[in-house]
C-alpha cells in the first residue's frame, strides 16, 4: 500500500508544477487530460447506450480507472488509490457479482414503458449538461491555489490530519453507517425458512414410503458390437428393458431398438413380442422392427 502511495506521489510529482504561480496546469497534465477526457466520455456513453449489462459495468470501470488517474494528477494520490482499490476493486466487483446473480443476459427491452420518457430523459440529460457546464464556466474565474503547501507532508498524511482532525465525528458516523448497511444487507437478503429442513434421512424415508424403485436403474445395453447409451439392455427373460435407457433419450425419441444393433437378439425379442401381440390383437409385423428414430443421430447432437 505504501509502495503504491509512494508510486502515486512519484507519478504526481512531475505533473505538479507551480500551479499557484501560473494559474494554469502543466502541458503534461493537459495532455493527460485531453487523452483521458474523451475516453471517459465515450465510456460513459457506453454505459448510457450499451445493451448488455456487463459492457455497461465495464464502461464504468474504465471511467473509474481514468478518474483515479485524474485524481493522482490532481495532487490527490490517496484518493486515486482508494478509487482503484475500493471503488473499482470492491464496489464494481460487487456489481458484477449481483449482475451474475440477476442474470447476465437480462438486457433491456426496446419498448419504452413510459410514454415520452425517452425524449424527456434525453432532453433532461442535455439540459442538465448545458446548465451545469454553463454554471461551471460562469463561476470558474478562480485563482487556483494548488496543493503544494497542503501536501507538504505527503498527501495521505495531510488527508489523515483533516479526517482525524476536523472530521473525526463524521468518520465515526460513517463507521456506524457502514455497520448499519452491512446489517441492512443481511436483513434484506435474508430468506425466512418457512418449511422444515429436509435432510438425507428424510429424503430416503420419503423415497421408500413412495414405494418407487429403490435399487439403481439397470445400465443400458452392452453388446459385442454395439455399446451405447441409446440401446436398452435385455432382461433375464430376453426382453429389452426400456428403463435402462436414460430418460432424456427416451423423451426425445432418440432411443434405438435392439433390432438395429443385432438381428439375433431382435429375433428373440420379436418372438417374445409376438406372444404378447397375440394377446393384444394385430401387432407390428415381426422382423420389421420398431419404428425407426425420427431424427437421425448425429455426433453433434448434444446429450443433456
Amino acid at each position: 500500500m505504501s509502495a503504491s502511495l509512494a508510486l502515486g506521489g512519484v507519478a504526481a510529482g512531475p505533473l505538479v508544477t507551480a500551479l499557484a504561480e501560473t494559474g494554469s496546469t502543466s502541458t503534461a497534465e493537459a495532455v493527460l487530460f485531453w487523452v483521458l477526457a474523451p475516453v471517459m466520455v465515450l465510456a460513459a456513453c457506453g454505459l448510457l447506450f450499451s445493451r448488455r449489462t456487463v459492457y455497461a459495468a465495464m464502461s464504468v470501470v474504465v471511467v473509474m480507472i481514468c478518474l483515479a488517474i485524474l485524481y493522482v494528477a490532481q495532487e490527490a494520490p490517496f484518493l486515486g488509490v482508494v478509487q482503484v482499490v475500493v471503488y473499482t476493486g470492491a464496489v464494481m466487483m460487487l456489481f458484477l457479482f449481483v449482475l451474475m446473480l440477476v442474470g447476465v443476459d437480462a438486457s433491456d427491452s426496446l419498448v419504452e414503458t413510459i410514454r415520452g420518457q425517452r425524449w424527456l430523459g434525453a432532453l433532461m440529460g442535455i439540459g442538465l449538461a448545458v446548465v451545469l457546464v454553463s454554471v461551471v464556466l460562469n463561476a470558474a474565474d478562480l485563482r487556483p491555489q494548488g496543493l503544494a503547501a497542503a501536501n507538504a507532508e505527503t498527501n495521505p498524511v495531510g488527508v489523515a490530519r483533516v479526517i482525524f482532525g476536523d472530521f473525526v465525528f463524521n468518520l465515526q458516523a460513517v463507521g456506524i453507517l457502514l455497520i448499519t448497511a452491512a446489517v441492512g444487507a443481511i436483513v434484506l437478503t435474508h430468506r425466512e425458512r418457512i418449511t422444515r429442513k429436509v435432510g438425507q434421512r428424510e429424503r430416503a424415508e420419503a423415497r421408500i414410503a413412495a414405494g418407487g424403485r429403490l435399487t439403481p436403474l439397470p445400465a443400458p445395453g452392452v453388446y459385442a458390437r454395439s455399446n451405447a447409451m441409446d440401446v436398452p439392455a435385455l432382461g433375464p427373460d430376453g426382453r429389452p428393458l426400456d428403463i435402462s435407457v436414460p430418460r432424456v433419450l427416451r423423451v426425445r425419441g432418440q432411443e434405438r431398438s435392439v433390432t438395429e444393433v443385432h438381428l439375433d437378439t431382435s429375433a428373440a425379442a420379436a418372438a417374445t413380442r409376438h406372444l404378447e401381440a397375440a394377446d393384444e390383437g394385430p401387432g407390428p409385423v415381426p422382423g420389421s422392427g420398431s419404428t425407426p428414430p425420427q431424427r437421425a443421430i448425429t455426433g453433434e447432437e448434444p446429450i443433456r
Binding site: 414503458t113 413510459i114 420518457q117 424527456l120 433532461m124 442538465l128 446548465v131 451545469l132 454554471v135 460562469n138
Partner: protein, 674 residues
C-alpha cells in the same frame, strides 16, 4: 250576613291566639336557628335517604320499599310538626330562623352557604307537603299495589318530597333552584312513570320542556340578582332590593314570573298540565294539584320584596293570574276526561292564587291561604277521581260514569265535600280563602280605578264558572243516569261499557276521608286561627283597603253566581240525560276541549317555526357548511386526481422530476449569479 266578615275579623283579633301579631310593620329579620330547629335538615334528608335506598338497593326492597317511603314521608311530617309547634310557641321576632348547613360554593370573594330558612311561610309549605304527601303515600300503597314497579314509584315520590321541601326551605335562590329542578325531575319521572306507552312519555317530555322554558327565566333572574347584589341568598337580596332600580327589579320580577308560569302551569306555559295527567293519579294529586304546581306562587310570594319595588311586574303577575283563572275555568267546562277537568280546575285555582299574589302584600297571605286549602280539597278530589278510576277499570271518561254515588259511597261523600269546598260554599274551606281573594281583588290597593273592577269581576266570574264545571264533573260522575252496564239486564245505552264499580280498599279511602275533613274544616280553622297574622313575620303587616263594593254585597254576589253555576250544571248534567259519546258541541266547547287551541298556538308560533328554523339550519349546514367542507375536499380530491397522474409509480419519472428541479435550480443560479 252583612257583618259576618267584619265580625270574624274582630273575633280573630280578639282571640288570645297563639300567634301574636308581629310588632313591627316590617318583616322580621332572620336569626340563627337554635334548639329543635337545628334538626330541620332531617326534613329533607329523610325522604332523600329513603329515595336513595329504594333506587340503589333495587329489587331487594320490593317487598317493603313502599312502607319505607311512607315512613320517610311521615317522619318528615313529624319533624315538621315538632318545628311548627315550637315556632307557634316562640315570639314573632324569633319566627324567622336560618339554619346554616354547610359552605356550598366558596369561590373567592363570592361564597354561598347552603342553609334552610325556617319561617311561617316555609313551615306552612312543609306541613302541606308532608301531610298531604304522607296521605298520598298511604293511598299509593293500595293504588299501586298491582304495579310491578311500585318501589320505583315510591322512590320517585320520596325524591319529589325531598326536592319540594328543599325548594320551600332553601335560604337562597340558588338552593331553591336545586329544589326547583329536583321537583321538575321528579315530575318528569312520575308523569312518564308508565313510559312504556308513547303518549305518557311524550307528556313527560312536554312537561319537562315547558318547565325548562320557565327555568330559563329562573336562571336569568338569579343571574340578574347575582350581577346586581353579588349574592343570591334571600336575606342579602331582600335587604338590598329596596335600593335597586325599578327597571332591574321589574326585569327580575318578570323573569321570576316566567319561571313561576312554567312551574305553576300559568299562561302561556300552562299547556303541559293537562297532559301531565298521564301519570298515576296519586302523582296528579300530590304534584300536579296540591304541591309542586303551587311552587310558582311560592316563588312570587317569597320574592315579595323584589316585587315591592316593581309594581309593573306585580301587575303582570295579577294579569297572568286573572287570565289563567278564566282560561282554565273555560277549559274545565268542556273536558270529559275527569283528570283533565280537574287539571284545568287546578290551573284556574292557581290563577286565583297568582291573582292574589299579584295584588301585592295584601294578597300574599290569601294566596298562601287558598294554596293550602286548595291543596287539601284538590288532592282529596284527585284521590276521589283515582278511586273512581280504580272502580271503573281505569276509565277516565266521565260520559261513561254516572250514578256512582250508590256504588262508591265513601268516594262520593269525600268527593262531594271537596266539591263544596272548591265551590266556596260556606263554611267549607274554599269559602274562606277564595272569598278573601275576591274581596282583595275588588280592593283598591292604591291602584288606578280600573284594576279593582277588572280583577274583581274576573275573580267573581271565575267563581261562577268554577261552580259550573265542578258541579258538572260531580254530577256527571256520581249522579244522573247510569251510563255504564253492570252486565245484568238491559244496557241503559248501546255505547255503555260493562263496568263493576266497587269501593276502594281502606288504605285508599282513609286518606280521602282525612283530606275531606280538611276540606270541610281547615279553611275555617285557619281563618279563625289567624293565618293572616301567622305569615306577618314574612310579609309584614299590611292595612287592608276597603273593596270598591261592600263586602256583604260581594259575598252575596259570589254565592249567587256559584248557585247559578251549580244549578245550570245540575239542570244540564243531572236532570237531563248525558250522551255517552260527546256531542259535537258549540264552537266554544270545541275550543275548550282543545285547551282553547293553546297547543295549536304553541305549535304554530313556536314548534313549527322552530322546526322550520332547525330544518333551514340543517339545510344551511348541509349546503353551506358541509358544502364548503365537501367542496374543499372535492377541490383537493380533484387536484389530487390531477397530481395523481404524475404519481406513476415509475422511479424514473420521479427521477426526471428531480433532475428538472436541479436544472431549474442551476438555471436560477446561472441567471442571478447567486
Amino acid at each position: 250576613m252583612t257583618t259576618l266578615p267584619a265580625a270574624l275579623t274582630t273575633v280573630s283579633a280578639a282571640l288570645p291566639t297563639a300567634l301574636p301579631a308581629a310588632t313591627a310593620e316590617g318583616v322580621v329579620a332572620a336569626t340563627a336557628a337554635s334548639g329543635v330547629f337545628e334538626l330541620a335538615w332531617l326534613l329533607v334528608a329523610l325522604p332523600l335517604a329513603s329515595a336513595a335506598v329504594l333506587l340503589l338497593a333495587g329489587r331487594r326492597t320490593d317487598r317493603w320499599g313502599h312502607w319505607l317511603g311512607v315512613l320517610a314521608s311521615a317522619g318528615s311530617f313529624l319533624v315538621g310538626a315538632v318545628l311548627l309547634v315550637t315556632m307557634l310557641g316562640a315570639p314573632a321576632e324569633q319566627r324567622v330562623q336560618d339554619l346554616h348547613l354547610f359552605s356550598w360554593i366558596p369561590a373567592g370573594a363570592f361564597s354561598l352557604d347552603a342553609g334552610l330558612r325556617l319561617d311561617p311561610l316555609s313551615l306552612t309549605f312543609v306541613m302541606l307537603v308532608t301531610f298531604v304527601g304522607t296521605l298520598i303515600h298511604v293511598y299509593s300503597v293500595a293504588y299501586m299495589e298491582h304495579d310491578h314497579d311500585r318501589r320505583r314509584f315510591f322512590a320517585y315520590l320520596n325524591l319529589f318530597v325531598a326536592a319540594m321541601l328543599l325548594l320551600v326551605l332553601a335560604d337562597s335562590y340558588l338552593l331553591l333552584f336545586v329544589g326547583w329542578e329536583g321537583v321538575g325531575l321528579a315530575s318528569y319521572l312520575l308523569i312518564g312513570f308508565w313510559n312504556h306507552t308513547l303518549p305518557n312519555a311524550v307528556a313527560a317530555k312536554k312537561a319537562f320542556v315547558a318547565n325548562r322554558v320557565g327555568d330559563v327565566g329562573m336562571i336569568i333572574a338569579i343571574g340578574l340578582l347575582f350581577a346586581t347584589f353579588g349574592a343570591t341568598d334571600f336575606e342579602t337580596v331582600f335587604a338590598a332590593a329596596g335600593g335597586a332600580s325599578e327597571g332591574l327589579l321589574t326585569a327580575t320580577g318578570l323573569m321570576l314570573l316566567l319561571a313561576a308560569t312554567g312551574k305553576s302551569a300559568q299562561f302561556p306555559l300552562q299547556s303541559w298540565l293537562g297532559d301531565a295527567m298521564a301519570g298515576p293519579t296519586p302523582v296528579s294529586a300530590l304534584i300536579h294539584a296540591a304541591t309542586m304546581v303551587t311552587a310558582g306562587v311560592y316563588l312570587v310570594v317569597r320574592s315579595g320584596p323584589i316585587y315591592a319595588g316593581a309594581p309593573t311586574a306585580l301587575l303582570v303577575v295579577a294579569i297572568i293570574g286573572a287570565f289563567t283563572l278564566l282560561f282554565g275555568a273555560i277549559i274545565g267546562t268542556a273536558k270529559d276526561d275527569i283528570k283533565k277537568a280537574l287539571a284545568a280546575s287546578t290551573m284556574s285555582q292557581i290563577g286565583y292564587m297568582m291573582l292574589a299574589a299579584g295584588l301585592g302584600p295584601i294578597g300574599y297571605a290569601f294566596a298562601i291561604f287558598h294554596l293550602v286549602t286548595h291543596g287539601f280539597f284538590k288532592a282529596g278530589m284527585f284521590l276521589g277521581a283515582g278511586s273512581v278510576m280504580h272502580g271503573m277499570d281505569d276509565d277516565v271518561d266521565m260520559r261513561r260514569f254516572g250514578a256512582l254515588s250508590t256504588a262508591m259511597k265513601a268516594t262520593w261523600i269525600t268527593f262531594g265535600l271537596g266539591w263544596l269546598a272548591i265551590l266556596g260554599v260556606p263554611p267549607f274551606s274554599g269559602f274562606w280563602s277564595k272569598d278573601k281573594i275576591i274581596e282583595s281583588a275588588f280592593a283598591t290597593n292604591g291602584a288606578e280605578g280600573w284594576q279593582p273592577w277588572v280583577f274583581g269581576t274576573v275573580a267573581l266570574l271565575g267563581a261562577g264558572i268554577t261552580a259550573f264545571y265542578m258541579s258538572r264533573l260531580f254530577f256527571m260522575t256520581f249522579h244522573g243516569r247510569r251510563r255504564w252496564h253492570d252486565g245484568h239486564g238491559a244496557a241503559p245505552d248501546p255505547d255503555a261499557p260493562v263496568r263493576h264499580p266497587h269501593e276502594s280498599p281502606g288504605l285508599m279511602v282513609w286518606p280521602m276521608w282525612i283530606l275531606a275533613a280538611g276540606s270541610v274544616a281547615l279553611g275555617g280553622a285557619l281563618y279563625f286561627g289567624g293565618f293572616e297574622y301567622w305569615l306577618e313575620p314574612v310579609f309584614g303587616h299590611t292595612e287592608h283597603d276597603d273593596p270598591v263594593l261592600p263586602v256583604p254585597v260581594l259575598i252575596a254576589l259570589t254565592l249567587l253566581l256559584v248557585a247559578a253555576g251549580a244549578f245550570l250544571a245540575w239542570r244540564q248534567y243531572a236532570a237531563a240525560p248525558v250522551a255517552v259519546v260527546a256531542p259535537r258541541g258549540s264552537v266554544l266547547t270545541r275550543a275548550a276541549r282543545r285547551d282553547l287551541y293553546q297547543d295549536d298556538v304553541n305549535e304554530a308560533l313556536l314548534m313549527r317555526p322552530g322546526q322550520y328554523l332547525t330544518r333551514s339550519l340543517v339545510y344551511g349546514d348541509r349546503q353551506v357548511v358541509d358544502g364548503a367542507a365537501t367542496g374543499l375536499a372535492r377541490v383537493v380530491a380533484g387536484s389530487g386526481e390531477l397530481v395523481r397522474r404524475v404519481q406513476t409509480g415509475f422511479v424514473r419519472s420521479y427521477a426526471t422530476t428531480m433532475v428538472l428541479g436541479v436544472i431549474v435550480l442551476a438555471a436560477v443560479v446561472l441567471a442571478f449569479r447567486i
